[in-house]
């Protein structure tokens, strides 16, 4: 009967078990992650905080399947993917993860439309379908009039909206945002946070790194890091 009770708990998207990441710098070893145990449930909105060099970006890279652990286990939707090869990890990123970066990382020579379509291109969608979907996403982030513009013709806030639309294109299970407002002014930052909040309310799982306490307030859960370890977790 107790098994049934555990089943009613929210589904875990990602679980890290005693996760460690050690960088070898010559004969010196830097433990960027040092025994992390954490589970991110479906539908959660997390803010990862901590001082510079505490391992926030390293954690995000590991969760985002861009980097591998040097010890411990990484379970993605219950499956240990520590031993997956490059192609398999690429496939997880493509189908299950969406990235938002501090410096937007749009492809400069592509239009807004084509930038948003990029994940669909790698998913092999046909042209008409992905164009329609990109238009839909652009109007969702309020950029339906900028589809033919190039990133260089947009403001920072607009570029980040395009990046969010792109992150949403493949309908991922998890959105990863490393300091998404780091290059934006306060007003624009709050607009982006409002957008992320609405995504969360729409059911998306979001993990976000931020230095700003008032922006962290948007998230339901907060995870504090110090020297590659989890200091404490605040849940609301």
């Amino acid at each position: 009967m107790e098994a049934v009770v555990t089943d009613t708990r929210p589904e875990t998207v990602i679980r890290l078990e005693n996760a460690g990441k050690v960088y070898a710098m010559g004969n010196q070893q830097v433990a960027a992650l040092d025994g992390i145990d954490v589970a991110f449930e479906k539908g959660g909105f997390w803010a990862v905080m901590g001082s510079s060099g505490s391992g926030k970006s390293t954690l995000m890279n590991v969760i985002g399947c861009l980097d591998r652990l040097t010890s411990g286990r990484y379970l993605f939707q219950g499956t240990d993917i520590s031993a997956y090869d490059d192609d398999a990890l690429s496939d997880i990123r493509l189908r299950h993860l969406g990235f938002i970066f501090q410096s937007f990382n749009l492809i400069p020579q592509l239009t807004v439309q084509r930038n948003i379509e990029l994940p669909l291109y790698y998913l092999g969608w046909d042209k008409e379908k992905s164009q329609a979907h990109a238009r839909h996403l652009a109007s969702m982030v309020g950029l339906d009039t900028r589809l033919t513009h190039r990133p260089s013709e947009l403001s920072g806030g607009q570029m980040q909206r395009v990046a969010i639309a792109r992150a949403l294109a493949a309908d991922p299970d998890l959105i990863l945002a490393d300091e998404p407002t780091g290059n934006l002014d306060t007003r624009t930052s709050h607009q982006i946070m409002a957008l992320l909040t609405s995504l969360h309310q729409g059911g998306k799982t979001i993990i976000m790194v931020t230095h700003e306490h008032d922006l962290a307030e948007y998230a339901r859960n907060r995870l504090y890091m110090t020297d590659g370890r989890i200091d404490r977790i605040e849940k609301r």
Binding site: L66, S90, R93, L94, N105, I107, Q109, L118
Partner: protein, 422 residues
Amino acid sequence: MKQIKFSRELASGIQTLLLHKLRSFLTMLGVVFGVGSVVAMLAVGEGASKDALEQIRKLGSHNILISSIKPVEEGATGTTPSFMSIYGLTYLDHDRIQESFSSVRKNVPVKLIRKEARLGERALELRVVGTSHQWFEVIPRPVLGGRTLMPGDLADKSPVVVLTEFGARKLLATRHTIGQIIRLGVDSFTVIGIVKNETGSSGAMQIPDREIDAYIPITTARSYFGDVVIKRTAGSRLREKVELNQIIVQVGSLDRVEPAAQAVERMLTLFHQKKDFQIQVPLALLRQAEATKRTFNIVLGAIAGISLLVGGIGIMNIMLASVTERTREIGVRRAIGAKRKQIIIQFLIEAVVLSSAGGILGLAVGMAIPFFITWFAKMPTVITPLGILLPLFVSLGIGIVFGLYPAARAARVDPIIALRHE
């Protein structure tokens, strides 16, 4: 599905290259000039060798040409006024060839005499060719009017003559002249026909007929003009006796041509104390010309290879620069979920588009150059299908070969470092 994706890769590759039009164009130039020079050189080479081969084929690949040559004089006896030099091929040689070799199908005696021809008011110095009816079988030329020599003309020693088109025009002879009398020297001949003549022979070997030939039966030539020619030089008269100036032998099958030529030479050497004849085999010249052409092609191929290599290195250089410049883009694509293979394809397609576009442009340049060469230098050029397809495939191959390394470099980019890249 795969097809659609590939065409989209191609379209986006072209789009990326169009963003830097000048750079893409300059990168292509190496391949443009490489391919252009290959196409042009092939066309010129092909044209030149085709011309030479054509010339030799006109001589007849089954033919062996034996000509009388004046042997080197011993001592100063040649200056004695009464001296008569006797040399060259004889009627006996002609008969011996006929009797000795079963592979000989046709055996044509040729006697050449310079005479002045007169028709009404017109006079023309021409080359009288005493020969047999077989001449026209060995050196076939279209008959424009009347007929050529026949065995009966030889047997009867008939005073008949066949003119060439060129000679006839000079003498103002027309089709109506056939059947009329023409004077060769002091003798009268009946014009029985006019044949077309080959024009402008300048090559490895003279073709046997000339523009102003007059063909008469060899029997007639011998009885009218004899075998002795008197050449007047300053102060002295030189008498020469040459029975036959040429013998043209035609052999039945191609593989017997060269053995037959050797056998004829051996036999003639037996009967001639001095080396007063020479043997020319068009087939041997043909073989030689073909060998020369092969060598020419190898040299051209090497030059072309080097110029295309330079073009390829240019593409590789720019692609490497492009990979470095677009490290961040590669990182973004990888983070979104692009596999290494897809990054390789992306950059490979850009390299192939560059080289193929260069190849097509080069083809246009390479086809224009021979056109101008033919136009200005009046040199024949030939563009063969191989001359078009080969450079195109090679330029495609260059894109793949020289694009592979930059593409592999792109695929090895670490997305974490790339995304931090400024």
